[in-house]
């Protein structure tokens, strides 16, 4: 992975820059001891590491603004960071950049359930947003699997989704407003606790911009009343094609489950060995969850069961109790852990039209054999967001490179069938150089114009999203 040449002049001035920042920020908020900054050298894509110049941990929006103003004057690149769980290297530093961590800004500022919103600081973790309202029967809908750790600011930057987004949408559909600090240190309020932000939809373009347009310090989020209950059904099939056809029929029948998760044989096997969830030995497994009162759930599961039976399932297990639901979800939820135990793995995140599912799974199987690396598939079938897990051995020379090449081929396949490179993890550095597979020069130019407007010097979160050649002129490289 190529990173832009660090600005040697900035690195040479490190001491002066740090002391300028220390003069205006609380002393605990500026870290430059290499032993301590090492904790910030990577995110969830840990194959790539680079210690930053320094780490800033501001406690208020005003401190963020002050810090950015100084960094801009000193021409220091800034990498915003939430909890560092990005899987695309979105929070990877460069050696001339400061990390701006929002971790200390984690307060709830306002809860207003009559108007169904909550205002939080951007460093607050996803799960603790729900935690702040669940006592009153509400929840925050986007639920990435990393929700215990990841921060709302990171969710906004990556437009994160979760297992339940088939019904509730992703971050952008649940975000009402942000406080954004631009690289110039200007504090901008966009949207608020009302349903239409007004004017050009700046909120829409900030969400998913991977920390490149500004630093989000506060967010107004929509919260929803919790459903009365939820229960899954587990259905096993003897082929991926049939499982795919079953998903299509369920959607056609007008049933809108809250989640439809799909696992293929390699994934089922690994999960079963790891979690002993009692999954059947079959080619493809669906876990479909519906919500409502007990009677409503029974009714929907009956409809789903009737459709599934037309496809000759090898097993159909409706959950009748909470314990049974937990067992059905157990294997799926431990999928990544299970893989991690048997192998090193790389988790991809392309999206495909659901109609292309059987074709794509077949092609992935062929590619996997071609490269001699196993691929296990687990994904959100209702919306076509795939998470192929490529298994490799990090200690074997050449294996990581082979794995990356296979990953790139799979993502190119996603684009070829009408899908995209990333459904929820973002482009980061990981998929930066693949952008040309999906976008023309003109398409990228239009996106980069937005960056020009918010961050004319291209100092925020450098080297991410756009191929380095495409952004070279703008970065003055």
């Amino acid at each position: 992975m190529q990173l832009p040449r660090p600005n040697a002049e900035v690195i040479a001035r490190k001491a002066a820059i740090v002391s300028r920042l220390r003069a205006v920020l609380p002393s605990a908020a500026v870290i430059d001891d290499p032993a301590e900054t090492r904790a910030y050298e990577c995110d969830g894509l840990s194959a790539y590491r680079c210690p930053p110049l320094a780490v800033l941990l501001p406690g208020t929006t005003a401190e963020v603004a002050t810090a950015l103003k100084i960094c801009r004057e000193e021409r220091v690149p800034v990498v915003p960071r939430g909890s560092g769980t990005s899987l695309s290297g979105g929070a990877l530093p460069t050696s001339d950049a400061v990390i701006l961590g929002l971790g200390r800004m984690n307060r709830v500022l306002e809860t207003d359930l009559a108007n169904r919103f909550i205002r939080v600081e951007a460093g607050r973790t996803n799960l603790s947003v729900t935690g702040a309202v669940e006592g009153e029967g509400f929840f925050y809908a986007p639920d990435p699997s990393s929700q215990l750790a990841c921060a709302i600011g990171g969710n906004i930057a990556m437009n994160s989704g979760g297992a339940h987004c088939l019904k509730y949408g992703v971050t952008t559909n649940n975000l009402l407003g942000v406080t954004l600090v631009t690289m110039a240190g200007e504090v901008v309020e966009i949207g608020g606790p009302w349903m239409e932000a007004g004017g050009l939809d700046l909120l829409g373009v900030i969400c998913g911009s991977e920390g490149q347009l500004g630093v989000v310090t506060e967010a107004v989020l929509r919260v929803l009343p919790k459903p009365e209950g939820a229960r899954p059904v587990l259905i096993g099939f003897n082929s991926n094609e049939v499982a795919g056809a079953c998903v299509a029929d369920i959607i056609r029948a007008g049933v809108l489950p809250v989640a439809i998760e799909f696992m293929d044989r390699p994934c089922i096997r690994a999960c079963e060995e790891f979690a002993k969830a009692g999954y059947p030995d079959c080619e493809a497994l669906l876990i479909i969850e519906v919500e409502g009162s007990p009677a409503e759930i029974d009714d929907q599961l009956a409809r789903i069961g009737e459709i599934a039976r037309r496809h000759d399932p090898v097993e159909l297990r409706e959950s009748r109790s909470e314990a049974e639901s937990a067992r059905i979800w157990l294997g799926r939820k431990s999928a990544f852990g299970a893989m991690g135990r048997i192998n090193d793995y790389m988790c991809l995140d392309g999206t495909i039209p659901v109609s292309a599912l059987p074709h794509v799974l077949k092609r992935i199987g062929e590619m996997s054999r071609g490269y001699g690396l196993d691929v296990a598939n687990v994904f959100h079938a209702g919306d076509g967001n795939m998470h192929p897990l490529i298994l490799f051995n990090a200690n074997k020379p050449g294996d990581l490179e082979k794995c990356e090449a296979l990953g790139a081929d799979i993502l190119r396949l996603c684009v070829e069938v009408g899908g995209c490179l990333s459904g929820e993890h973002g482009v980061g550095i990981e998929k930066r150089d693949l952008m040309v597979a999906q976008f023309t020069e003109e398409d990228m130019e239009a996106q980069m114009r937005v960056k020009d407007v918010f961050d004319p010097d291209w100092l925020l979160n450098p080297a991410k999203v756009f191929p380095l050649e495409a952004s070279a002129a703008r970065r003055g490289a």
């Binding site: 108007n115 509400f138 990556m158 829409g204 109609s355 995209c420 490179l421 999906q438 239009a446």
Partner: protein, 368 residues
């Protein structure tokens, strides 16, 4: 000038040197009138792709909305955001197009539960002010590949680019609906009742109150047994606010809310406000409005106000904003249609327009 292909449109814009007034169906004449040559894009028609089993539709921007809705209805699906038809409200003829709906980000009562037009929009193609064809998003529901210009184009009223094709995430049309009606509530009590309903686990898909008739409507949709159960539970839950009757699916009632039928052929200007629901009754009272329609549980207020009044000046600062939807040309020349932006936001918006439309060709001045 009428174009029929994206290529033709691109060539036309590339060589244009003076302002263009972009016209789809011409049914939403909102904003300051644009002095410029008409660029008619209603010829960019046709469905490019419809996959019911994937809940996906891709359609060219000039396609009549009615055609799209009929196509989807034939497959038991729909655009969930319930786009309004503004012809009656604005006294227009013509045929609303999909592109116009997207450019105006038009959503109806179901927005409160299913999201806005911009939330259902998953892909877009447009020609910017330099004549360049740009695509963004795609045809899949989850996509964070590059910046989301799809949202930026929705509600940009043609000022960043001329939309040529759009892709939507669709939803199944539910088996049935039930509407609950209460005729005795004041706006204050109605908004409290609607908040209670929207805060319940029963997935209310419409909550509106019309001050003029005192009618409050609450809608639930889904499979028949579920709708029956939810209607009963809601009636019981909301009994403390008043007596609720079950008036069937309520299709006509919701269409009237969606299209603001109460204000058709009634005198005065029409404003549309986005506010915190609990603030809505107070704001409507301060507005000295002739009539008020509270949609989205009060989150959106349609106000009919004596002609020529500057509602923003009358209200002073509010948490939210007001858009002038219908007024005489003289009023629209004097009072900004779109809510004034805070200075740093205005700077960003202007800079974006300068980048996407450097020659200031596309509906210049329409959004202020």
């Amino acid at each position: 000038m009428k174009v029929t292909t994206e290529q033709e449109l691109s060539e036309w814009i590339t060589s244009a040197t003076s302002p263009l007034r972009i016209l789809g169906g011409g049914t939403r004449p909102v904003g300051r009138g644009v002095a410029g040559e008409v660029l008619d894009v209603s010829g960019l028609r046709g469905v490019t792709l419809y996959e019911p089993q994937a809940l996906t539709l891709v359609v060219r921007a000039g396609t009549p909305l009615a055609e799209v809705e009929a196509l989807l209805a034939g497959e038991g699906q729909r655009l969930a955001f319930e786009p309004a038809d503004w012809r009656g409200l604005l006294g227009m003829a013509g045929e609303p197009t999909v592109g116009g709906m997207v450019a105006a980000n038009v959503s109806g009562p179901r927005r409160v539960q299913a999201g806005a037009c911009r939330d259902a929009l998953i892909g877009v193609r447009f020609v910017d002010g330099t004549g360049t064809v740009v695509k963004n998003g795609g045809r899949v529901m989850k996509n964070v590949t590059g910046y989301d210009l799809v949202k930026l184009m929705a509600g940009s009223w043609g000022t960043l680019g001329v939309i040529t094709e759009v892709a939507f995430k669709l939803l199944p049309r539910p088996e049935t609906a039930a509407t609950l009606l209460c005729e005795t509530l004041s706006p204050e009590v109605a908004v409290a009742a609607m908040a209670d309903a929207l805060g319940s686990p029963f997935e209310v898909t419409g909550a509106a109150h019309h001050r003029g008739t005192g009618r409050t409507l609450i809608r639930i949709e889904g499979f028949a047994p579920s709708v029956a159960y939810r209607a009963e539970r809601l009636c019981a839950r909301l009994a403390r606010f008043g007596d609720w009757s079950h008036i069937g699916e309520g299709g006509a009632e919701w269409q009237a809310v969606r299209d603001v039928a109460a204000f058709h052929q009634m005198p005065g200007d029409v404003w549309c406000l986005a506010v915190k629901p609990s603030d809505a009754p107070g704001i409507a009272a301060r507005a000295e409005a002739e009539d008020a329609l509270f949609d989205w549980g009060g989150g959106r207020i349609w106000l009919r106000v004596a002609a020529g009044a500057d509602l923003r000046a009358r209200l002073g600062p509010v948490a939210g904003h007001a858009t002038l939807i219908r007024a005489a040309a003289e009023t629209r020349a004097r009072i900004a249609t779109f809510p004034p932006e805070a200075p740093p936001v205005a700077v960003l918006a202007r800079a974006l327009r300068d980048r996407f439309d450097p020659k200031h060709l596309l509906n210049p001045g329409l959004m202020g």
